[in-house]
Amino acid sequence: MIGDSIDNEQVELLLNDVLEVYGYDFLEYSHASIKRRISRLFGLDNFVSFAEFRYTVKSDKKYFKRFLEEITVNVTEMFRDPSFYKALRKDVLPALGTYPFIRIWVAGCSTGEEAYSLAILLKELNLLNKSLIYATDINPSVLEKAKKGMFPINYLKGYSENYIQSGGVKDFSSYYTANYTLAKFDENLSSKMIFSTHNLVSDRSFNEFQLILCRNVLIYFDKDLQHKVFQLFDNSLENLGYLALGSKESLDFWPNAKGYKRIKTEKIWRKL
């Protein structure tokens, strides 16, 4: 079901409360999608009125945890957009291979599928030992899952197909051990990952990287916020480093995009 019960003004009220009480700023998120998430949650949790919903969000810390989890969209996949991973494998990662040490930031990593995919590529290129993947998200609950590296087994067939399409030639099942419901990925993959909360709206640059991946996060931000986040990435990227965005996102309208060069047909830009 899709809800139709929360109006634009109520969205604004709620988001102002959230900023005031909890310090999370969603006011510059794309309006239509955040409204849809809020209406959906309102419907799911059977509130009788907007007033009750608003009061609960404001005063119940535990409920706010749920609010944060549900308002952010955490859907993700391993090797999503295989052609993107092919470009990482063929063009981007080999270029980083010349560095003594490789630092990568996966911003908005959700439950970690992207970070594990990346670690598999690094391993196959013999670069994993000298790499470190910083995987961050606004939502602490997804990070807890990401740390465990366990993904539902019924998705693995699709992931394995994606992996092959992305140019993988190993037996994909050699990367995990499976039980009835979950596949646990090798700990030598996660041993090269650092998980931490980081809010792209309010937190600062915390390191310099040679590669930043931020895919399917910026679609939820309005233009001004996107530009602020591009500035944050720019401050966090070494010269000749790479920035990778989601398949429908673009750096093009950002005023400082001149300092970047697009790689082939993928949504990957290199800082000049």
Binding site: S30, R37, K248
Partner: protein, 196 residues
């Protein structure tokens, strides 16, 4: 009926379709006039692999500009915007598009319901929606909301739809303004106008 058609101001047309709708689109689009003065948004179910196939097919068959939507793209008259595979397509108050990679709705992403609802909240009574052939019920909930906001609901005649289930569900549940055969649709769309 014809009276309703001519009097309805159209600021945006959204077409939703699933299995069996491609033939209709390939019949309708070549017959559309280039001077249509509203944007057309297309939401169809397809496999995520075949991303730009529909875009390429339509490009060769219409004088309108056809785009596969990029996020934040602005809606312009006489342009056709196709929802990219694997994202829900939403419309903002300022007539730009937002994409959303959230849960599938009715086993579908893009979901027709999502775009119909979002368009209804923005264009209200100046929205026209057409639901085509398909074999699930995506679109029906969205049409209810279009109705509620005073928009115009048009459904492909189930008797000649390749997959009648989706339009039949819609006809049963939503009160449509018009039920049209595919060969009537181009004339209907050409007669729609932004201002009268």
């Amino acid at each position: 009926m014809a009276q309703t058609v001519i009097n309805n101001t159209c600021s945006a047309l959204v077409i939703g379709g699933s299995a069996g709708s491609l033939d209709v689109l390939l019949e309708v689009f070549p017959a559309l006039k280039a001077e249509i003065d509203f944007p057309i948004v297309l939401v169809t179910h397809r496999k995520s692999g075949s991303d730009s196939l529909l875009t390429d097919l339509l490009k060769g068959r219409t004088s309108l500009n056809v785009h596969e939507v990029e996020e934040k793209q602005e809606m312009l008259p006489a342009n056709v915007y196709i929802a990219p595979a694997d994202y829900h397509l939403l419309i903002e108050q300022n007539h730009t598009f937002s994409l959303d990679y959230s849960e599938k709705i009715n086993y579908s992403r893009p979901s027709i319901d999502v775009t119909f609802q979002s368009a209804a909240e923005v264009f209200k009574s100046e929205l026209v929606c057409i639901l085509l052939s398909g074999s699930n019920a995506d679109g029906v909930e969205g049409l209810k909301i279009v109705n509620k906001h005073g928009g115009m609901v048009v459904i492909q005649n189930p008797s000649t739809a390749l997959m009648p289930y989706m339009p039949q569900q819609a006809v049963n549940i939503v009160k449509p303004h018009l039920v049209l055969h595919s060969y009537e649709m181009a004339d209907f769309i050409n007669a729609l106008n932004k201002k009268n």
